[in-house]
Amino acid sequence: MSAAAARPLVTVQSLESDMATDANSVPLPDVMRAAIRPDIVTFVHGQISKNARQPYAVSKRAGHQTSAESWGTGRAVSRIPRVAGGGTHRAGQGAFGNMCRGGRMFAPTKIWRRWHRQVNVTQKRHAVVSAIAASAVPSLVLARGHKIEEVPELPLVVSDAAEAVEKTSAALKVLKQIGAHPDAIKAKDSQAIRAGKGKARNRRYVSRKGPLVVYGNEGAKLVKAFRNIPGVEIAHVSRLNLLKLAPGGHLGRFVIWTKSAFEKLDAIYGTFDKVSEKKNGYVLPRAKMINADIARIINSDEVQSVVKPIKKEVKRAPLKKNPLKNLQVMLKLNPYAKAAKRMALLAEAQRVKAKQDKLDKKRKPISKEEALAINSASKSWYKTMISDSDYTEFENFTKWLGASQ
């Protein structure tokens, strides 16, 4: 793999004092492409910022410098220990409790509180590496609030002539040439008196952060030139501080690198293949995803060629219709239903007709001949009934058997 040839080049901004032959470019060190992990940075920053604290505590004797004793019950006063003696306002006043005036506070603060935090070295390095990588992303630097609209390129690398700058006025000129001046102006204009009690506790002024200038050679004059500009901070490459690279735990400080500093980054942090020279056995951290551009992956040929097409029309469930009420639906389920229904209807019609006929026949008044025929038929039937009956042999039944046998 021709790694070096594939790495993008960063142009070095030349200053007035440079020869015209310069304005070359440097390959981007791998640190700038490390994984950006705001979670690690927030954690490590939080831990590390506790390390510069000075302990505070109340005096251990505060509130106990009395020989107070409780008066006990029976004296119409509360049972709080009271100061013994007489002749002064203090006598008889409550003492010792956190609720008492002049008493000791609840849980007096102790100096042996755990002020400092330990962080694993690899974690600390990961955080610094993430912060350096984030400083190369213009969106993140903008989001942090730096004014980089006039900066010609990010990461901003300046030729080594900047390291020789001695006077602050010259340093300001350098900043103007490379487009970093708006950020410094922003920092200067933001100087204000702190809101809150801190102003009375030796933290009177606050201001925004400006650019961080990173130099490569020890004893460079630029330290003294740049340090008095409000907002501007300086650091040497081999001593980069997370508290300066990600102030407040927020990624994306605006960093100005000198050429020698930029070139040393590869040696200090190593590359993805190569172990670091200065940090024993350290390799840059890997990202969970090599290519995090998901939109691009999804739209790539490899994925799109295997993916099923989008279903544009949405299939909705049709309304269920009751077959017992809706004939068409019933027929869909049971085609014989039509014939069965037809036959049922016909049979019903027949039955109705038959009944009607029967009723009509019954309700119609019968003619004389019919009536006569019916009458005579019934009489003769009665006679035969008597004569044919089993009871004719017995005398008891003669009465209701009636007429003569």
């Binding site: 213009p138 989001a143 293949d273 090599i290 290519n291 939109a295 989008i310």
Partner: protein, 181 residues
């Protein structure tokens, strides 16, 4: 092939057999995807994840928690809304419409190849025409050349608002006569 809309994005990682033999350089193994000029930038989704919780342009108004509306003050945001689609920080291609000097409207789009060169990032053009011609120009730059067709409505809306504000600034804000009965 049709690009999948954002709502259908799912996540998957590629695994290379050579992953453990040689530590990967992003652009070498993914050469079908990325060209060298784009290598230095971090993908927009990642930037959005970092920036969406807290950034210097974020403004939360009207309530706390889910009740608030999130605005965003960065210049490349057409609706000034804090969302991935409208964000000027997380997208490679953005459109901005601002009032320029002398009652003109400044239309600017970001160049995709110059992402890490902030001073030359924008294609700026000052427009001082009547509204219809400006609207046509905006539509051409944003939608018709497939730059960011999803921002067409937003761009036109912003254009009309900016235009109106210029008219107001020209003739002065309405002076209310409070003494009148």
């Amino acid at each position: 092939m049709p690009p999948i809309p954002k709502s259908h994005i799912w996540y998957f990682t590629r695994s290379y057999p050579s992953l453990f033999l040689k530590p990967p350089h992003c652009e070498i193994l993914d050469s079908p995807f990325l060209s060298i000029s784009e290598m230095a930038t971090v993908p927009g989704q990642l930037i959005w994840e970092i920036v969406k919780k807290n950034n210097s342009f974020l403004v939360k108004e009207f309530g706390n928690g889910t009740a608030s509306v999130k605005f965003s003050k960065e210049p490349n945001n057409l609706y000034n809304l804090h969302s991935y689609k409208h964000s000027g920080l997380a997208n490679k291609k953005t459109v901005t419409i601002q009032p320029g000097k002398d009652q003109s409207v400044l239309l600017a789009t970001t160049k995709t190849k110059k992402q890490n060169k902030p001073s030359t990032l924008l294609n700026k053009s000052l427009m001082k025409k009547e509204f219809n011609r400006m609207a046509k120009a905006v539509v051409n730059q944003v939608a018709d050349n497939h730059y960011r067709p999803d921002l067409k409505k937003a761009a036109l809306a912003r254009l009309s608002v900016v235009n109106r504000s210029l008219k107001v600034s020209k003739s002065g804000a309405k002076k209310k006569n409070r003494q009148r009965l």
